[in-house]
């Protein structure tokens, strides 16, 4: 078994943790090995073994040959204390410490479960719900109690019929919890989009869901909280979708309870290995993920590993970048552009991609396009032959309404991943942005 690499910073936000073990220490599954120095959460060993090396950013553990199921339990406390002790962080996005988020003291508010699994091609969240729908509802009720909410809403895309039917069977006896059906468009899983869809409140980009008297928690995170409360289990393993250019086909490989710190290479190997040439390895979804390398370990926030098809070669053609808050940031778009071998000629931002104080961008009205033709005109004026866009479903549709007519060749930043997973490319929108809450009503699915 390969060495396990526990990163001291498991999410995108917060500060690196401080190791509390030293080289040569024997650790068990669940042994606390690093604690926060600022915003952050405990890190526990995901295996039995010996600490082999400690570097600036990680603790490397050589696992024992024998790996019993049993783990070191976290100490008992209030439910909130146990979630903190277990090192639970949000598993759908940047990895914000869940205990801090739940300490919201809502006044008859809402806990919204984000089960949108919005990034195309991912399946581990919905499979987990199908496997244990009752656990999701039980976990949600713990969280409502902690946060002071009297209402829970599970937001899930309408296309996931099996999971919805399983939930509906339970929810008919749960007056405080309901489900909200989302249309199958990107970015329904954006935190503020979930708030808008469920509660009808459009939050400003700099506002948190608390402004709508709500907290939003990813479905997998709910299960981690449940494990911490009921089984005193720290967050040491993770469900992962591995998909793309994998030998044997592009169906999703969902691995459950993968020890945090496992290398990407070993997971791809478990799935069947890479098939032939590939473009890049994406950590997370194709919109918001980043390119990674095979020797990197998974963290508490890694949801997916996508092996993409090789990049088209643009042979240095003049290319515009349309950067949106819903997709890659400028750095990621430039990374893609260099892989496409295009020449950066013009950068435009979606009008709604507002720059925040921390330098990131957030969409003013996620999923509702503000118009894109001005950007296309600017690309055209700059002499672009290609445009690489990172837009949501609705905005991509708008780009397509004028771009090709102007002679711009449009590429979506997810194309190489979508081709690899067998998902339709993001171009023209053919489904409605409205989902009827009756599961049996078929929504308008085609442009006129």
């Amino acid at each position: 078994m390969e060495n396990i690499q526990m990163l001291l910073k498991q999410g995108a936000i917060g500060k690196p943790c401080e190791p509390i073990v030293k080289v040569g220490d024997k650790v068990k599954k669940g042994t606390l090995i690093a604690t926060p120095t600022g915003l952050g959460a405990n890190v526990h060993s995901s295996v039995y073994g010996v600490v082999e090396e400690i570097t600036d950013d990680r603790i490397i553990i050589k696992p024992d040959d024998e790996q019993p199921e049993k783990f070191v339990k976290i100490k008992k406390g209030t439910n909130l204390e146990m979630i903190a002790e277990a090192g639970v962080i949000g598993q759908g996005g940047a990895g914000f410490p869940t205990a801090i988020k739940l300490n919201a003291n809502l006044d008859k508010g809402y806990v919204l479960v984000n089960a949108a699994e919005c990034e195309p091609g991912l399946e581990h969240n919905i499979r987990q719900i199908i496997g244990d729908p009752e656990g999701l509802v039980r976990g949600l009720k713990y969280l409502m109690e902690i946060a002071g909410a009297d209402k829970g809403i599970i937001a899930i895309k309408k296309k996931n019929r099996t999971a919805i039917e399983a939930l509906d069977a339970i929810l008919k006896d749960e007056p405080s919890v309901e489900r909200h059906l989302l249309p199958d468009i990107y970015p329904m899983g954006e935190e503020r989009a979930v708030v808008r869809e469920c509660l009808g409140i459009e939050l400003e980009p700099d506002k948190l869901p608390s402004a709508a008297n709500a907290v939003v928690v990813n479905s997998e995170t709910v299960y981690s909280c449940l494990e911490a409360i009921e089984n005193q289990k720290p967050l040491i393993d993770k469900n992962i979708t591995v998909r793309g250019r994998i030998a044997g086909g592009n169906e999703a490989h969902v691995f459950e309870n993968v020890p945090v710190g496992t290398s990407v290479a070993s997971l791809i190997e478990r799935a069947g290995g890479i098939e032939g040439e590939y473009g890049e390895i994406i950590f997370g979804g194709s919109f918001t993920g980043r390119a990674g390398t095979l020797d990197e370990p998974i963290t508490k926030t890694t949801g997916a590993i996508l092996v993409t098809v090789p990049f088209l070669d643009l042979h240095g053609a003049k290319t515009g970048l349309l950067v949106c808050a819903c997709g890659g940031n400028l750095e990621r778009m430039q990374d893609l552009l260099s892989k496409y071998n295009g020449t950066e000629t013009k950068v435009c931002y979606c009008k709604q991609a507002q720059e925040q104080k921390n330098g990131t961008r957030k969409c003013e009205r996620p999923g509702n396009c503000p118009g894109q033709v001005q950007n296309n005109l600017d690309f055209k004026k700059a002499g672009c032959e290609y445009v690489i866009m990172g837009n949501c479903s609705d905005c991509s549709n708008t780009v397509m309404a004028s771009g090709p007519k102007m002679g711009l060749k449009v590429i979506h930043m997810t194309d190489h991943a979508m081709r690899a997973v067998g998902h339709a490319l993001y171009r023209t929108l053919r489904v409605s942005k409205q989902a009827d809450q009756d599961l049996n009503v078929v929504d308008n699915v085609e442009n006129d």
Binding site: K351, R365, N368, C369, P370, G371, Q372, V373, Q374, L377, D394, C395, N397, T398, A401, S402, K405, M406, L429, S432, K433, Q434, N444, N447, D448
Partner: protein, 616 residues
Amino acid sequence: MSITAETAKQHANDPAVLCCRVEAGTELTPANLEDPAIFPDLVDSGLLNLDGALKIGQVLNGTKITKTVDSLTAITADIVDKFDAIETDSPAEEVVAAEEAPVEAAPVAAAPVAGGYISLHIGEGKNIDIQIPTGVGVPAVAGAAPVVSAGAAPAAAPAVVEEEKVVRELTRKHYLIEEVKRGPETKIEGTTLYIREGIEAEALAHHSITTDLKIEVITPDNYHTYSEAVMDVQPIATKESDDDDLGEGVTRVLDGVVTMVTGTTEEGVQIGEFGSSEGFIDENMQWGRPGAVDKGEIIIKYQVTILNGKNMERPGPMDAHCTVDFVTQEIRNAMKKLEDEPREVQVLQQVRRPGKKKVVIVKEIMGQGAMHDNYLFPIEPVGTLGAKPNVDLGNVPVAASPLEVLDGCIHALTCIGPASKEMSRHYWREPLVLEALHDEEIDLCGVIFVGSPQANTEKFYVSRRLGQMVEMLDVDGAFVTTEGFGNNHVDFVTHIENIGKRGIPVVGFSFCAVQGALVVGNKYCDAMVDLNKSMSGIENEVLECNCLCEEDAIRGIAMLKAKMAGEPILEAERKYNVNVKNNNLEIIEKATGRTVERVENEQSLPMSDKRREKYD
């Protein structure tokens, strides 16, 4: 892109077009609508069809879309459930400024100038105050074509306009030169100018970067002579007395002859940046422009050679100009000794007209360094001694009297972008200064020169100083002119903004047309005069072709008068259209009864190989 409620209100009478896909049943809000500002581009490129489109003001009152449609669909009656009727008494559409106005805006109606008079003061031992109707003569353009000379005063009744105040006078004494020869000493005998043989070596001895100097006398029958890039055209003039400052007292000027500075580096690189005017003079000179040679004049052509690589460094062009000025200064000294009676005496007056609309002329001059520089306020007209390069002054705004401008206070190093750069002689005969000085309806308070620095931060720096200076002048209106195009347009439009945002009406002058279209703009750039004369709207490398002429000055003044009177200026057309300019001229002629002479362009010249290959 989607618009705000405020924008929707402003554009209530513009067509309503969806910016994005809208599903059936959606109630329209401004967020669903595309910004009308970009419709023309979209219609031009065939992306948008506005046939039958309802107006924005008709569809924001609860109107719902009845059919799912995609972006850039014009909202028509057949895809909505209801819409409001058009208000019959809706206010007239506000005239909105073209943000980028590469073409000039047309005045709806030029303020009438009919009945205006030009006041000229002509003196030859005796002083006569006369007035001539503007329809009869045109303002005095000195040098080859003085409009009014003492011997031919028009028969107009003398009259004095009471409120006018003559601030100062400048007397120009004209001496005709009919022949230029080389000789043992530099002197003027009758109408012959002699230039000392061997003066070249002496000039070179004083200058280290210039390695060679050739003097060639080009007579009108030899205009088909090859010349390297023309770096400057200069009048040959001197102050009569050492006590006289520029812009006052007496200046002596030679008629019938001009200085022309040309040159290359040792390896033959033209001293120019964006195009150069090398070639046969008769094919590359737009005769008769304020800054050019007039047909019939003798050209003293100086061909300098400078060290390799120095053409794009400040000392290179400076040294070339100083070397030539060494020779010119010897001619000036000879002129001071002249005891002949001048052939003509012309008195230029700086007149202030209290009570009339007070205006200022801002002239942006190049200040990026190398040949993009100007010597300001030399001791002699268009000299170099005593002058300060505006680059060394930090390009900050500098005040000048109109008479200083007309007395050669600018020695221009601008030897590039031949068609659109103002040569030294341009300032000597600056048409806007002359026209504004003589316009009885306005009170020209002065001229401000502001350099155009290289870096944007410096551009904004000088522009803010300019805005403050113009604010302090308490003017009712301002002109901003520029030469060249491209980089300098950044500060040009910023000057307009800094003046405009202080509530002062402002009119801009620039070569834009096709090649020099403004790359930046702001809402104050709504009254622009395009200086293009070329057939194709380009920098055609024909010397002075696209520079400010009298016809441009007349249009600009009419435009500023209209603006100061609160009359709307029509929005500029999106693409350069020469007819806008022609229409403006016709409106002015109709309103004033004055015939405006249209200048010729490069089509009047023999076709050069360069033009045939590169341009026309």
